[in-house]
């Protein structure tokens, strides 16, 4: 009989009656992707009709995922930076944990095992440092695949910066909260794009919005001053590289002040949404974007539903984005922006 939801037991305490003999090897072969045709149909039929088989199968899938995650974590701890032949045992490579070159040079002469042990102890902070660099990346770098397009302005339709957020009432908040930090990140990217397209009107509006958000933040005077200065320069109709440099400087001050992962998320998710909107395949092909996705999915401390959306983006990006996939990616980023921007 087909296994529908009616087979979920209402009474969870009844003792189990005799259950089917489960073909474990068939389930294993399905998991390994080794079945085709009639054999695969047989395996799927088993999962659909045998409660025992389905339970064993789902538990096995989870256990395998755990094993693979552990193996990936182990592999990440040992990365060859310069494989060398061990003189004592010709042909045997000596692996060193990846570290900045200067630190590695200081360790010349230290026995490899001792060096590796020390570095494994340091590794969590190395990983954290790498993640921090990803999230702290400047919008100039994040949006480069977009801003170097000659046709960017023409591909962005009017109202592109509308994020459909609910109005935030600054007076009732303490000032430091993840939603504000996130919105600031989104607007940092939007501002960078507006400046890149020479859209002074939008750039002025976005700078004003950043200042509104900063208004409620205590001791943000340094960042406020920089953005006030930027707004004045935009109003004086300055253009080009000096203006972009001023915006980068203001953003750097804000980044240092906030020191917030949510600011980073805002920058990246906004860039991703705009990249998908404008069909910028190079954004999704870039190494920086994949590093962000890996950090956010693996170590970003996001909710499972957020991770699932980013995983889908990662899968699509990993195989080259085209056609309708841009729309799917855009929807995912837009949903994440809505969730975290207080929409």
């Amino acid at each position: 009989m087909a296994m529908g939801l009616e087979h979920y037991p209402g009474d969870y305490w009844e003792e189990m009656a005799a259950f089917d003999e489960v073909d474990l090897e068939l389930i294993g072969a399905l998991m390994d992707g080794r079945l085709t045709g009639a054999e695969r149909e047989r395996a799927i039929k088993l999962l659909g009709e045998s409660e025992a088989a389905f339970e064993v199968y789902t538990d096995a899938v989870r256990a395998r995922a755990d094993l693979e995650e552990e193996e990936e974590e182990e592999e990440a701890k040992v990365v060859p930076i310069e494989p060398r032949l061990d003189k004592r045992q010709p042909g045997r490579r000596r692996w060193l944990v990846g570290v900045p070159a200067a630190a590695a040079a200081a360790w010349v002469g230290v026995p490899a095992a001792a060096a590796a042990a020390l570095l494994v102890a340091v590794l969590p902070s190395v990983q954290a440092y790498r993640d921090q660099a990803v999230f702290a990346a400047a919008t100039t770098d994040i949006t480069l695949p977009l801003t170097q397009r000659g046709d960017l302005r023409s591909t962005l339709r009017p109202g592109w910066e509308d994020r459909s957020w609910s109005v935030m009432r600054g007076g009732t908040r303490a000032g430091f909260d993840s939603t504000t930090e996130f919105r600031l990140g989104v607007r940092a990217t939007d501002l960078r794009v507006a400046l890149a397209t020479g859209d002074a009107e939008r750039a002025r509006g976005l700078t004003g919005e950043v200042l509104d958000l900063l208004q409620a933040m205590p001791v943000a005077d340094g960042a406020k001053a920089k953005y006030q200065g930027l707004r004045s320069r935009i109003e004086r109709r300055e253009t080009g590289e000096p203006l972009i440099a001023a915006a980068s400087d203001a953003e750097k001050t804000l980044n240092e002040f906030l020191d917030s992962r949510w600011f980073g998320y805002g920058k990246w998710l906004a860039a991703g949404e705009l990249a998908a909107r404008t069909g910028s395949a190079s954004f999704f092909a870039s190494g920086s974007t994949s590093r962000f996705l890996r950090a956010a999915i693996g170590r970003g401390r996001l909710a499972p539903s957020d991770v699932e959306l980013l995983r889908q983006v990662s899968v699509l990006a990993g195989q080259g984005v085209d056609g309708e996939e841009f729309a799917t990616i855009r929807q995912n980023f837009a949903e994440l922006i809505r969730r975290h921007g207080g929409g």
């Binding site: 529908g4 939801l5 009616e6 474990l24 389930i27 079945l35 064993v56 199968y57 256990a63």
Partner: protein
């Protein structure tokens, strides 16, 4: 393939598989060690009889994973009868599954359950968050209903005056579940398995794809299409957006 050698070569993997299954099901400490010992004994029994059954159509590691998952199922049934985590808890992730098991299967108080989860090490323990999860997962009858202190500690499903409203809510919810059950039963076999794995067992799309040997990229639009199909069938059965909105709205 010498089963003795296979066992020796994979003893670390065997222990990790057992540990994963226990951890995900809220079994720890001495109970987890007992299960791991039981697994090793079973694999050694009758001159590695279980390992000799391996025909080679899947990898050794996968075979061990499936065998140990099967042993775990036997173990779980022996210990708790037909206890299963609710679909709602599985959807919410490991923390919810462990919390539900601690309280409704093991009969712990909320405080005891928080301590149990904090010993787990893999899940974040935030009491306010755990209390929120407890309110959201189905209320189930704990085993030790004769212990007044334990029962009092749990959130009551509803107050004395809410009987009528909640009966209607329960009836509507059951009608929606029955309609969903009928809609799922009409899907193609593989689609039913996919829906169950992702939405009722809480497996990620990546794990569903890997488990069934399907291209992950193609699975996303397939899931979307399946949901549209299920929605259309539910609407045909009178379960539409307004119906669900009523169910989700707070009682007057």
């Amino acid at each position: 393939m010498d089963p003795r050698q296979v066992y020796a070569d994979h003893i670390g993997v065997i222990e990790r598989i057992a540990e994963s299954l226990c951890r995900r099901n809220g079994i720890h400490g001495a109970d987890a060690e007992d299960f791991a010992s039981e697994v090793k004994l079973k694999l050694l029994q009758d001159d590695y009889a279980v390992l000799r059954k391996h025909r080679g159509t899947c990898s050794v590691q996968t075979f061990l994973t499936v065998v140990i998952a099967n042993l775990f199922r036997d173990h779980r049934i022996k210990m708790w009868g037909k206890w299963r985590s609710s679909a709602e808890a599985k959807r919410r992730g490991e923390t919810a599954v462990l919390l539900e098991a601690a309280i409704y299967r093991d009969g712990q108080t909320f405080d005891e359950a928080c301590n149990t989860l904090s010993r787990n090490g893999r899940v974040k323990v935030d009491r306010a968050e755990l209390r929120k999860i407890l309110h959201e997962i189905p209320h189930r009858v704990p085993r030790r209903v004769d212990d007044g202190a334990r029962v009092d500690d749990l959130p009551a499903p509803f107050g004395a005056d809410d009987g009528v409203i909640n009966r209607e809510r329960d009836e509507r919810l059951q009608a929606a579940k029955d309609a969903l059950s009928r809609a799922v039963a009409q899907l193609e076999r593989e689609d039913r398995v996919i829906i169950r794995m992702h939405y009722f067992e809480g497996l990620s799309v990546a794990d569903v794809a890997r488990g069934l040997g399907i291209d992950q990229k193609r699975l996303y639009p397939r899931l979307k299409k399946l949901l549209e199909e299920l929605c259309a069938r539910l609407k045909g059965d009178g379960i539409g957006a307004e119906y669900l909105e009523w169910l989700n709205s707070p009682p007057p």
